[in-house]
Amino acid sequence: MTAVAGGELLATQDLGAYYGTRQAIAEVTIAFRRKAVTALIGPSGCGKTTLLRCFNRIHEISFDARVEGSVFLDGHDIYANDVDPMAIRRRIGMVFQRPNPFPTLSIFDNTIACAPKGLNYQGKMEAAERALRSAALWDEVKDKLRTSPLRLSGGQQQRLCIARAVAAHPEVLLMDEPTASLDPIATAVIEELMASLCKEFTIVAVTHNMQQAARVSSVTAFMLADETGVGRLIEADATSKLFTKPSDRRTEDYISGRFG
């Protein structure tokens, strides 16, 4: 298992997660490169989404869900007793598989819905423009900021969700198969966006699409469920190396399409 040396923004130590008595992932130790895209790949049911949901403590809002081990943000364990999950989630934003803008808020209000509080109108306007620009959506929506987000296309909605996450000023962006419900053109736009966003944010993206992982990430982590159905990290390495010379036999089987 390739653990990267210290000083990382986000890292885990022996992380395990449960739904009730069923263990979903076990013994995950990994560190994520700062201001880079790391892709989590693996077949369905290998626990990659669960792992992602542990990073901002959103896993625990599921019924009967539980976590063991540690996740470190800037060296601090976010599962320590005195940590406020809300504060963690403001530093670690999330984008979901299906675009989920708030249906009753306008595009503008969606963008700043989770932005830091206490801004005046001018401040909100600037924050919204900045976030929408970094999500490459500003030019398409600047004339209809007051309209419903449900009129946007799926790809635009997903970029709005990215803008909403960016406006909250996180340091880490978690993306759970952000293009799974989009067409190829919208997917390409989001992938370009990931490449530009990683100059500013540390991005961890789950994908079931190996080509996507190869295109957007500089590091790739491969997960696989063992025979009891518990997801484990098999290896994590530079994307170019993992896809050409994986060090584990199972990784090679997966990327060469022998299963999954």
């Binding site: 959103i58 963690i88 989920n100 708030f102 249906p103 009753t104 989770c114």
Partner: protein, 315 residues
């Protein structure tokens, strides 16, 4: 036609089972339409002598005098609208907050039995609420709640005047208790049906559970929650026996919520057996007609509001 003969339609309903089924479903839905039209026609026919005798002034006259056969419906319309308004304001606030709690905050061991109990409340016969209102709530209003409200808000005309215990406010509170289960149960179902990823989207960006529930989940459910309130309001408008027992039954309009009043439904229930003259009976039926039309209007208005909200959200 290029369609082959084997595909040509012979008859709309081929088998006897088809025809039987069609007759049942068509008949059932036509029956409903006939029922409502028949009801309306019957009410108009029954109230015709009164409509002829008093004309439209029946609606805005406030005398109700069986001795001189001089009838006006305004006090009852006022009483009906006021008690229902008090009820829906109280019930909407409490019911929606309870629904938010049940849908998003209550742990399962508490939420399940609570939801069940609330639905059970809706099954309590209204005469039981009336008894409780008469023997428990009305005295309590007279000795405790009324004086307290008057102490704080006595300078507002709404809370001035003598406190009898029975009256508009007591009627409104009884109604609120009766319709709160409706508001809560339906709103809860609507809130639970809001997709989970919407909640997670808000939570995942650092909002608290409260912010998520009030700013994201509740607005997303607003059409359904509004529908729950309208359904409850419809019940409040027509509710008879419990209100009759606690409202004081006096056909007067007063600015004070503590004053006794009367509702359309209570007058009909109270006085139908003692209506000795045919014009008296006819006036009571006209009250029924007004109640029918008011309920229809409220429902139509609600439909219209739901449509307009949906329309503006349509892609």
């Amino acid at each position: 036609m290029t369609v082959g003969p084997q595909f040509r339609r012979v008859a709309r309903f081929v088998s006897p089972a088809d025809r039987g089924f069609a007759a049942v479903v068509y008949g059932g839905s036509i029956l409903f339409a006939l029922l409502i039209i028949g009801l309306f026609v019957e009410l108009v026919l029954g109230s015709w002598p009164s409509i002829i005798a008093f004309g439209p002034s029946f609606i805005w006259k406030s005398s109700w005098d069986p001795i001189t056969s001089n009838f006006g419906a305004l006090p009852m319309i006022f009483g009906t609208v006021m008690t229902s308004l008090i009820a829906i304001v109280l019930a909407a606030f409490i019911g929606i907050m309870a629904a938010v709690f049940l849908a998003d905050f209550a742990p399962q061991w508490l939420g399940q039995p609570l939801s069940f109990l609330i639905e059970l409340l809706a099954a309590v016969p209204s005469v039981v609420y009336g008894l409780w209102g008469l023997f428990v709530l009305a005295p309590f209003m007279r000795t405790t709640i009324g004086p307290a409200l008057q102490h704080v808000l006595g300078w507002v005309p709404l809370f001035s005047g003598p406190i009898y215990g029975v009256g508009l406010l007591t009627g409104g509170i009884i109604l609120a208790l009766m319709i709160v289960p409706t508001v809560t149960a339906i709103s809860r179902d609507v809130l639970v049906a809001i997709p989970r990823d919407l909640r997670e989207a808000s939570m995942a960006l650092g909002s608290t559970k409260w912010e998520t529930a009030i700013r994201v989940v509740l607005p997303a459910a607003r059409v359904g929650v509004f529908g729950a309130c309208v359904l409850a309001l419809g019940r409040a408008l027509g509710e008879t026996i419990a209100v009759t027992m606690v409202i004081g039954n006096r056909p007067e309009i007063s600015a004070s919520l503590f004053a006794p009043s009367y509702t359309l439904a209570s007058v009909i229930a109270n006085e139908f057996t003692e209506a000795t003259t045919s014009i008296y009976t006819s006036a009571l039926i006209e009250l029924g007609l007004i109640l029918f039309l008011v309920s229809m209007a409220v429902n139509a208005l609600a439909r219209f509001m739901i449509w307009s909200v949906r329309g503006s959200e349509r892609v």
